[in-house]
Symmetry: C2
Subunit: 215 residues, 2 copies
Amino acid sequence: MPIEGKTRREVLTEFRHAEILAAARKVFSEKGFRDATLEEIAAAAGIAKGTLYLYFENKEEIFWAAVRERLLELHARLKEVVARPGTARERLREILRVRFEMMRRDEQFKRVYFAEFGQLCGYGGPHAEEFRQLQVEAARLVAPVISQGIKDGELRPVPPLEAAMALTDLVRGTAALSFLGLHENHVDLEQFIFDLFWQGVRKGDSKGVRKGDSK
Amino acid sequence: MPIEGKTRREVLTEFRHAEILAAARKVFSEKGFRDATLEEIAAAAGIAKGTLYLYFENKEEIFWAAVRERLLELHARLKEVVARPGTARERLREILRVRFEMMRRDEQFKRVYFAEFGQLCGYGGPHAEEFRQLQVEAARLVAPVISQGIKDGELRPVPPLEAAMALTDLVRGTAALSFLGLHENHVDLEQFIFDLFWQGVRKGDSKGVRKGDSK
DNA sequence: CAGAAAAATGACCGAACAGTCATAAATTTA
DNA sequence: TAAATTTATGACTGTTCGGTCATTTTTCTG
């Protein structure tokens, strides 16, 4: 007898899914994809190894399900923010806010995103291509904000896609700071990154930019 | 009978070392650390697996020897460039040039540096700490250039270490562009990155920066 | 060139671990 | 509550691969 369109079974199954992904995020965060074992993940989820295979195809799929969830959420939020009206400055600020929010959201998973990013981008693998597409997509969502800003005379004529990627790189880089043990700081990284980027792309008052200054 | 301080044996040994590291760079670049096998590396070097162990302790050491070589070279070049006199702008431009040069130097190994960076920073492991120290060191070499620039009134008061890291992040990010297949471009990435960073840190003419502009 | 020393080899070993499956427990149904 | 069905288990399997070492090949020495 379904309640709200879901049977008892379905609800339990969904919950298990979520439990497993949560456990997976925890273990993957600590060990990385390669060194995390299914035994550990199962233990963290409070189930036996075999049970994992009732819910997921294999290790790769578990990992990917955990990652995809977060990436799609990021996209959704970016889409929303990008669609809002405002100056390029305001919208870029919001984009940055969203990205930092996602990073902070589970500090846990930040490490995975950061540490596996290079592997996923750089080498082949079952889901590498999908992952790369999601990255490109994110950049393509942001690029129009920059294009528009240029058109409106608010920004310098920077290449939009490259600039969007640069912003992403800067955000990812802040993760490196903590892993490198350079995060003692009083410095507000989010604000600093925005400052740096904004000054980098904004159109200075024409008086302020002498010819040849950027060569 | 030594010639120029080296016996025939020593020369041959050195050469073998170099051969192995070259082969290792090739294989690690294609497969990544985990998926590269010693059998492959040996084959690429034209020797048998066991022979590797006459020259290196284990897989980790082979990898690390290949990486360390490049990192120390980067440091040496940075030290040299940083020591030269000049405006902050000139010196930053040189620093960027050196970093791009190193990236281009073996396109091959770029992938490894890019793809393993996250793993080395994010997770533990035999050489992770040394790797992190080398990264920090590189940032500490660059930071004084920025500090000096601020002191001289050439740059805005940005946090030097964070800014130095940001520059590094941007350079690393350009590698991502090619792996993501976004490198079609006519855009000169080195020039773009410098532009972006320079505009980001330079002190605009005081007229050009209105109060509150960077908040 | 003979014998000693060094370098090279690759078959082999053992550990790690993803994935399987016969069996057991839990849950549903009648 | 008994049979049927779904869910869970964890011992087991097969494979991969880093590392070893007894044996062979090459190089050196006198």
